[in-house]
């Protein structure tokens, strides 16, 4: 006779247990990023302080993923909503979650100015090199030669420019005494958690944090598991994975 164990899945406290199955596509990177973020919130015991905002695009599906107060905002506008929150209540730890389109295209002015002003929040840009929710169009981070619905013959950088490097851009304008700027990848979740830890600690100290997370979109990439992993590795060669800015005293 087989004995059934009454054992639920291991969920972080900061994860909403009632959300059920993941709403993201099979193989999507968002679930991995959000789960890691939730674990980090638990470990730093920021559950009561954290306020989570999500953008429009695939990231909108995270609107009830976290077991923390959450606002689903509008495309590109998560950054101003969340710095609006933390300006009004500086005790909170604000997290603005978005994709590469929301962060680096339609919301780029907010990213630039939030970095310049050292707004007190963590901006997470999940970079999967395309607009997933709308069907896989070119985004600012689409790789040279990458096929998308609006670059069906591959991204031609002569016509569309070079891919945007978000972390490098933010690093060049962020105040080194108040900021933490990094790029991580879903290929190494332990390292991602360490990055989130530093980022959230910095926000809790009143600083500005930016983490770009290289992520995957097998559905729109039309890749199988092996190809998805290979693509991620190619991205890691193009987009350097490292901490770009780390204020003194932050560990």
């Amino acid at each position: 006779m087989i004995e059934m164990l009454e054992k639920g899945p291991r969920l972080a406290k900061a994860q909403n247990a009632e959300v059920g199955a993941s709403k993201f596509c099979p193989g999507c990177g968002h679930g991995m990023i959000l789960k890691t973020l939730a674990q980090t919130i638990d470990e730093l015991e920021l559950n009561d302080k954290a306020v989570f905002g999500c953008d429009i695009g695939c990231s909108l599906l995270s609107w009830n993923y976290m077991n923390v107060d959450t606002v689903q905002t509008h495309h590109g506008r998560t950054t101003p909503v969340i710095y609006g929150v933390t300006r009004a209540n500086p005790d909170l730890v604000g997290i603005a979650y978005m994709g590469d389109g929301g962060g680096l295209a339609i919301g780029s002015q907010h990213l630039v100015n939030a970095a310049v002003r050292s707004e007190n929040l963590l901006i997470i840009v999940a970079n999967n090199t395309n607009y997933g929710m709308t069907g896989g169009q070119m985004s600012p981070t689409t790789m040279p030669g990458q096929k998308t619905e609006t670059t069906p013959y591959g991204r031609d950088c002569d016509v569309t420019g070079r891919p945007a490097k978000g972390a490098e851009m933010v690093a060049s304008i962020a105040d080194p005494e108040k900021s933490f700027v990094a790029r991580a990848s879903v290929s190494n979740l332990r390292k991602l958690k360490a990055t989130f830890k530093k980022a959230l600690k910095n926000v809790d100290m009143g600083g500005f944090s930016f983490v770009e997370v290289l992520s995957v979109c097998p559905l729109n990439w039309r890749t199988n598991n092996v190809q998805t992993w290979d693509r991620l590795k190619t991205m890691e060669e193009f987009f350097e994975v490292k901490d770009f800015v780390q204020r003194e005293g932050l560990e």
């Binding site: 923390v68 950054t79 101003p80 009004a88």
Partner: protein
């Protein structure tokens, strides 16, 4: 908690923009988010100058999009926050105003109209009437007060906060650059001295510490029917509360044969015109909607039905007239128009127009 500057009735000679900043403080507003655009700049100038005394907060954002959205953030964090804008700033702030409609956020914004379309002129117009009432990709779940002078600016800015927080529809105080830049005597007062209690504010995001279930505030719906269910409820609520909110002013409208319909500062010109016309033996009167959303439809229809002719006059090409005509459908009173796009309407303009209407009655 902010410190209130006005503790007893104080007579001052101020520009309208200054009045708005004082009114926001009197209403216990705690935070302003803003971006420079003429003719509303002095609202934030005054707000900033007063900060050491009020201990309130201010953030100058990177554009009106972020001014609108960070205002939403401040409100969600439980602050009585507000913003102000004008013209093209009002256009791009629709992005945030729509979200405030969808999420029923007590968003408060002073709109100081300037000329349009686009950059146009920087001081005056009534061309943001339609935009302020029905902007965004929605249904106009907004409350809009149109002011006609400095006492109005003070009274309705205070009222806007309470209306917004009580009913949770975005609330606008629609004025214009003439009102913003002009100086007038005005009585500033502590709202408590007039029996006005400020509606308490509460945080949607943060500060719960386990005292309530976690909030997940939504802006996207999966199904068309799911959205309609929500919006039907909003519409039902908007209709139900409208009688509590509707405001209007009638000036010698009881026996008016020519009824002038005007809002904002043009209504003030109309009042001088009514007196002048009455002195000349012409029975003129004014109907001034104070709330443009919702319109006080019943008294409006009654006033129009009593009159022999109606004159719509605006510093726009009939933006209010369009809204009113829909609501007086079925009445037979003919009307004329005096529309000056982006230009002020004087009492003389109205007197001449009404005199010509008396000679040659309107037929439309």
């Amino acid at each position: 908690m902010v410190k209130k500057l006005i503790t007893q009735d104080t007579r001052m000679f101020l520009t309208g923009n200054e009045v708005i900043a004082y009114a926001a403080n009197a209403a216990e507003a705690e935070f302003m988010y803003g971006y420079p655009i003429t003719p509303q700049n002095e609202i934030m100038h005054t707000w900033c100058k007063l900060l050491p005394k009020t201990e309130a907060g201010f953030l100058q954002t990177e554009d009106e999009i972020s001014a609108g959205f960070s205002t939403i953030g401040g409100i969600l964090a439980g602050k009585r926050a507000f913003t102000a804008t004008a013209g093209p700033g009002n256009v791009i702030m629709q992005d945030a105003q729509s979200m405030a409609e969808m999420m029923r956020i007590p968003f408060v914004c002073a709109v100081m109209q300037r000329g349009g379309p686009s950059t146009a002129t920087v001081i005056y117009a009534q061309q943001e009437t339609r935009l302020t009432c029905f902007g965004g990709n929605g249904e106009g779940f907004r409350i809009v007060y149109s002011t006609a002078g400095h006492q109005d600016l003070y009274d309705y800015m205070i009222k806007a906060f309470n209306t917004a927080w009580k009913y949770r529809f975005p609330t606008f105080m629609l004025a214009d650059g003439y009102q913003g830049k002009m100086r007038e005597p005005v009585t500033l007062y502590d709202p408590a001295s007039r029996g006005i209690k400020m509606v308490p504010v509460e945080a949607t995001l943060g500060g719960a510490n386990g005292s309530r279930p976690v909030n997940h505030v939504r802006n996207t719906f999966n199904l068309e029917e799911e959205l309609m269910e929500v919006l039907d409820k909003y519409q039902e609520e908007f209709d139900r509360i409208s009688p509590e909110i509707e405001e209007y002013l009638e000036y010698k409208a009881d026996d008016a044969e020519v009824l002038i319909i005007a809002h904002g500062i043009v209504a003030r010109s109309a009042m001088t015109a009514v007196d002048e016309l009455r002195a000349k033996g012409i029975k003129a009167g004014l109907f001034r909607p104070i709330t443009l959303r919702p319109l006080a439809v019943k008294p409006l229809r009654a006033a129009v039905a009593r009159a022999k002719q109606v004159l719509f006059t605006e510093s726009a090409n009939g933006q209010l007239a369009q809204m009113v005509l829909e609501k007086i459908y079925g009445l037979q009173t003919p009307y004329s128009t005096l529309f000056k796009m982006g230009v002020g309407v004087t009492g003389d303009d109205i007197v001449q127009k009404v005199e010509s209407m008396v000679k040659e009655p309107a037929t439309v």
